[in-house]
Symmetry: C2
Subunit: 287 residues, 2 copies
Amino acid sequence: MQNIGFIGLGIMGTPMALHMLRAGRNLHFYARRPEVKADFESLGATYHHSPEEVAKHSEIIIINVATSNDVEEVIFGQNGIIHSAKPGTIVIDMGTTSANTTKRIAAQLRNKRIDMLDAPVSGGEQGAIDATLSIMVGGDAAVVKKAMPIFESLGTRIVHIGDHGAGQIAKACNQIIIAETIVAVSEALHLAAQSGVDPAKVREALLGGFANSKVLEIHGKRMLENNYKPGFKANLHRKDMHLAIEQANTVGANLPSALHAMQCIDRLVLKGHGELDSSAVHLVSED
Amino acid sequence: MQNIGFIGLGIMGTPMALHMLRAGRNLHFYARRPEVKADFESLGATYHHSPEEVAKHSEIIIINVATSNDVEEVIFGQNGIIHSAKPGTIVIDMGTTSANTTKRIAAQLRNKRIDMLDAPVSGGEQGAIDATLSIMVGGDAAVVKKAMPIFESLGTRIVHIGDHGAGQIAKACNQIIIAETIVAVSEALHLAAQSGVDPAKVREALLGGFANSKVLEIHGKRMLENNYKPGFKANLHRKDMHLAIEQANTVGANLPSALHAMQCIDRLVLKGHGELDSSAVHLVSED
């Protein structure tokens, strides 16, 4: 039976780790929060005191932590994976992190004959629970093939985008499109409201045509109802937009509308609304 | 049998007028192009030498011309509708024109006891052919009710948005969302390409998630294939964006992302690409 290591049992990681258990895999995990430890132990998973200990027992290690720094700490830190992982181990970063950092980490792991994949997801908490995530994968084709059964137990659309970091670049594209579309819908609803026209009627009319999108459907509704319960928190979308703009700056891409969307999310967060859904950009898009 | 007047038998007007004939209505039309005249006469429609003559024979008059100036000419010009339309006539402007001008025209017609509706559409030529347009209607509810059978023979989503001009405001919202989403998708595909990642793979991954939209589906494909056969011409989208920004300026709405999208389309047109589909913004969005 395959031994899967799992590090990072947050909002996304928890349902994803549960799918590993349901698929009958041995789950080895490390978690900082004690309540997570007890829950997963009661389901038959094995707790370890560090990423290093997890790596000792795992052929594939899934990391689902917030930032590139956290990934580096989990891998290269004092009790990191690097100190015990056997050659042939596959490390999969499923969080949204920096493409540049991913490339560097993959090269360092390669020196130890450890394989890495970047495999960020979209679909949110519900997608993680339902195992309907979209998974954007970067890395070697042979390694992607080995990890495919894992991905297939987590998502319904799995695309091998390209080499190391390519998954993160696809995710950056995803995040800028969503942010820019949120701004677009927000501006349209502001234009309607300020023109004395019912924005709900406008949204209703637009849902049938070329202006339709998931963002108009779901975030447009949030804006009309002024209900910004997340969803996807502005704090996290902000982090992702900064990663995307960092990537754009690395390759010299000029993305003025993405930059504007990032600044809207920045403003929202700096006003103290980072815990709201990122569609709350509607509150500041006209400032 | 109801007598319908039709003025403006262009790309959109022609299939819409054909639906009037198919529904068994008497069609009275005015057209500047002689080939249109012969075609419609052969189908049993009656040609007239001016909008004034059309109005003499019609209870409802549909106008489908390019600009607000054209609408004013058709209504108030030397041989305009105003000189012969009977009280109770309904004039419907189905083109994309200025909300402010619409309000003024409606007020002037009201003095002659002529009713007006603004009823711009979305769905493009194919939607007009298939009678699956979305129709955004502004004007009095009682008049909308009288015109509803007409709308129902042309579209599948008919929303009475509000008072005179409200249809045009909804259309402006539609056009800015489409333009801004085109820019968003374009920026994402540029970011991927410049990062050395296959934009087609990125689009494929994103189609399954929250970044999905009609624009990603259809215009994203156009961008990947570098195929900008219209579709909806940049010249027309440009006109509509200027109307939307005019409306924003009238009510003091601040729409920086819409303004940026307008300027992208401006640049595209000024480079001589006005006859391409407006998704050709991809050619200039990084300039």
